[in-house]
């Protein structure tokens, strides 16, 4: 190794290190580049399509659109959804199939969106809630239809 090469090596090495230090120095002095957020205080608005959990939409009259066709149950890869049906008497005196319980196991759900796609009446949708932690696993099993709710008029 010649002496010139030796000095050149040192020069290049020091130069590359100083360039690196310039970069970190830039971020040290430019605080506007900071991108982190104070999480619980500042919450980011999540995207509209963000898949947090499955919800059954109810309107103001406490009516939903689920006919109990179990398309979502069949589409689900993990057995997350269980639909318990019952037979209701319509005013005309006919028996009609309706949901008794829409059981949703959040602990099994992988948010794959296949149930939403499968639903023929757009009864279920994905909600943006993401803070699901609870102390007991049993709390993650939810019944999605609200008590006393019934199917919307005209949805078959």
């Amino acid at each position: 190794m010649s002496a010139i090469q030796y000095i050149k090596d040192i020069y290049n090495a020091v130069k590359s290190l100083l360039i690196g230090m310039k970069q970190t120095g830039y971020y040290f002095t430019h605080h506007k580049e900071i991108i982190t957020q104070n999480y619980p205080e500042e919450k980011q608005q999540l995207a509209e399509r963000f898949r947090g959990e499955v919800v059954l939409t109810h309107d103001s009259n406490n009516e939903h659109k689920c006919t109990g066709c179990t398309a979502c149950e069949l589409a689900c890869p993990n057995g997350t959804i269980k639909i318990v049906t019952k037979f209701e008497l319509t005013p005309e005196g006919k028996k009609k199939k309706a949901i008794d319980k829409f059981v949703y196991h959040l602990e099994l759900c992988t948010m794959c969106n296949l149930c939403i796609v499968a639903c023929p009446t757009d009864a279920i949708k994905m909600d943006q809630a993401f803070e699901h932690s609870v102390f007991d696993r049993s709390q993650l099993t939810k019944v999605l239809n609200k008590p006393g709710s019934k199917i919307m008029e005209g949805v078959e």
Binding site: L17, G20, T24, G25, Y27, T36
Partner: protein
């Protein structure tokens, strides 16, 4: 004028008037000891906080900001956590050495505080071989690391300790040689003499090229001796999980942690004393007005300002550079730093003999 030196002197006078000389000396020992320990604690808290903030800003983060205003008391909270944590001793470890190692680390760091001149006339022990004392005691630290690595009965710890041993022993050479360059220029090992010799200008500026080279080498060697990135091979968390302190937890880990930060403070203080004039204000030749203004800033501020500047520099290195490999580390020392610093010493000697420095 109000200064730390004056306060210390008046306390000394008052103690000697009130008590017998032996008792006064004893009380002074106690006072100095307490101050050293509290300085330790404060330094630990401040430096850890500083490191976390510096790293955060370099990494486009905010850093600790929850405990106290701007997260000031984060390190307090951490310390309390560490104090309350159980200190585990692994089975199969050498219990005596395992418990002794962090104590040695902290004691060697503490002893190093003695010759440092914190302000004008404010020093624990102005011994005539101050610099030699520092380099001698700082070598003791490596024993604690070797002890910790060996006694943990863990292969990661052992590897970390062995790396650290090789590293500190080699880098001691170039650190010593770069210090020697300044010693040659000053002509004394005494800290007060070194500081006094810089009244007309700091060695970094008036020592020509040798002082500059010595300064760069000293900073590199200091980083290596304190096991800081890019020379943190003893810890190297991506390779050896935590290196020599893998098995340590609770307060014993905290002692290592504290010793690391105090060591950084000490090497930076030495660097500031040797190259940046210690507590000496910034003076420019014949500009008497300017020099006078500079004199108004307390000497302790000058000292801590310079030291913290160097500490920031070392932190900047850590958050910018990747780690070296073990053979590259030794190559850097034996192929580059040592020959350069030897040549540099020769140059410094020539300048000192010819009297070319200011």
């Amino acid at each position: 004028m109000w200064s730390l030196g004056n306060i210390a002197h008046s306390i000394d006078v008052w103690l000697n008037q009130t008590f017998s000389p032996a008792l006064a000396l004893l009380i002074e020992f106690v006072i100095v000891g307490t101050m050293a320990i509290s300085l330790f604690a404060v330094l630990g808290l401040v430096l850890v906080f500083m490191e976390r903030k510096v790293s955060a800003y370099m990494q486009i983060r905010v850093g600790p900001n929850r405990v106290g205003p701007k997260g000031m008391f984060q390190t307090f909270a951490d310390t309390i956590k560490l104090l309350l944590k159980e200190g585990l001793t692994p089975t199969g470890s050498d219990k005596f050495l395992f418990n002794l190692a962090p104590v040695i680390a902290i004691i060697s760091a503490m002893l190093l505080l003695a010759p440092i001149a914190f302000a004008k006339d404010f020093q624990m022990w102005d011994l005539n071989i101050g610099v030699l004392y520092v380099s001698a005691i700082s070598s003791v630290a490596v024993i604690s690391i070797l002890m910790a690595g060996w006694s943990s009965n863990n292969k990661y710890s052992l590897l970390g300790a062995m790396r650290s041993g090789a590293q500190i022993v080699s880098y001691e050479l170039s650190a010593g040689l770069s210090i020697l360059a300044i010693i040659v220029l000053v002509g004394s090992l005494k800290m007060t003499d070194i500081v006094a010799s810089q009244e007309t200008g700091w060695w970094l500026f008036k020592g020509h090229i040798p002082a500059l080279i010595a300064f760069v080498i000293f900073i590199i060697a200091a980083t290596a001796e304190t096991n800081r990135a890019p020379f943190d091979l003893a810890e190297a968390e991506s390779e050896l999980t935590a290196g020599f302190h893998t098995e340590y937890s609770g307060m014993r880990f905290a002692l290592f942690f504290l010793a690391e930060y105090v060591n950084i403070f000490i090497v930076c203080a030495i660097g500031a004393t040797l190259f940046l004039g210690g507590w000496m204000p910034f003076h420019i030749g014949q500009w008497t007005a300017f020099n006078h203004v500079m004199d108004f800033i307390p000497s302790s501020l000058w000292f801590f300002g310079k030291t913290f500047f160097l500490i920031f520099l070392i932190m900047w290195f850590r958050w910018t550079f990747p780690r070296l490999r073990v053979d590259q580390l030794l190559n850097l020392e034996w192929k580059y730093l040592l020959p350069i610093s030897m040549f540099n010493l020769l140059l410094a000697t020539a300048i000192a003999i010819l009297g070319w420095h200011f």
